[in-house]
């Protein structure tokens, strides 16, 4: 089966979603990430969704599930690069994605994860919704 690649940088995992995310592929990513976090003792997960043209309630829920699973496994998740049109649409859809930390781009997301791993405060990131 097709899979979204997961890169490792130190104790962080990095995922760039570049394909049309059909439902099983999203669920596969959720499973793969959970396994990798546990196996590697990862402290952070960064998911770059800048190439995603829409986030519907299914994809939104999958992102929220990934963040929740990661938290239980003692890892932080940050979702980066959400297109403004996608953010506007998500809010109107009724999904405020509580519990998901977002950042504008990969650099800011990495900075947040590194600080979070050392007990820092996550300067330079912004909450998509509180």
């Amino acid at each position: 089966m097709e899979r979204i690649p997961i890169l490792r940088i130190g104790s962080l995992l990095l995922v760039t979603i570049q394909v049309d995310l059909y439902d099983d592929l999203a669920l596969q990513l959720q499973d793969d990430l959970s396994t990798r976090i546990a196996d590697l003792g990862a402290t952070g997960v960064l998911i770059d969704i800048s190439a995603l043209e829409i986030v519907d309630s299914f994809i939104g829920r999958t992102l929220a599930n990934i963040a929740a699973i990661a938290r239980v496994l003692d890892a932080e998740t940050v979702v980066v690069g959400m297109q403004p049109a996608v953010a506007i649409t998500l809010v109107e859809l009724g999904m405020s994605l509580p519990g998901i930390r977002t950042a504008l781009n990969v650099d800011l997301g990495m900075e947040y994860l590194r600080q979070a791993a050392t007990g820092g405060d996550g300067v330079g990131t912004d909450h998509y919704a509180e």
């Binding site: 043209e53 829409i54 859809l93 009724g94």
Partner: protein
């Protein structure tokens, strides 16, 4: 003098909704049309998201069906209409189904209410045993 323009369909296409990959095709095809017809990026994103929600409902709750998309013109004004039909179990309480958070299948319960907010017009016809037809329109 004011003239009343008639609503005409300038383009139309039917897509099947039988598999998850069909959901991807629905999203891509709606996106292609909207971009060809020069809808704004925000309109495109809202309409494709609503299409994704309603197509998934037809697949998951309705056991599969189809989407008919039509480009509408009223005078110089353009719009897109998406009609999702299935022959599934139908919906007994439509008012309840439209409420945010209401789901009978462990979903987010945002598909119907959310699409209604994302589109200009929303119509649902359904009764138990008779399938479901959801028609949404957004004007440019």
């Amino acid at each position: 003098m004011e003239t009343v323009s008639e609503q005409i369909i300038t383009r139309s296409e039917i897509l099947p909704i039988r598999t998850q990959i069909d959901l991807v095709h629905v999203r891509q095809r709606v996106r292609t049309w909207l971009s060809e017809e020069r809808f704004t990026l925000i309109d495109q994103t809202k309409i494709v998201t609503a299409a994704s929600e309603l197509a998934r409902n037809a697949l998951e709750h309705g056991g599969g069906g189809q989407m008919e998309m039509s480009l509408l013109a009223v005078g110089a004004r353009k719009g897109i209409r998406l009609k999702f039909s299935d022959q599934g179990p139908g919906i007994a309480d439509i008012t309840m189904a439209l409420k945010d958070g209401y789901t009978t299948a462990g979903g987010m319960g945002l598909g119907l209410g959310g699409s209604k907010r994302l589109m200009s017009e929303f119509d649902i016809q359904s009764s138990p045993g008779a399938g479901t037809v959801v028609t949404v329109t957004r004007w440019k």
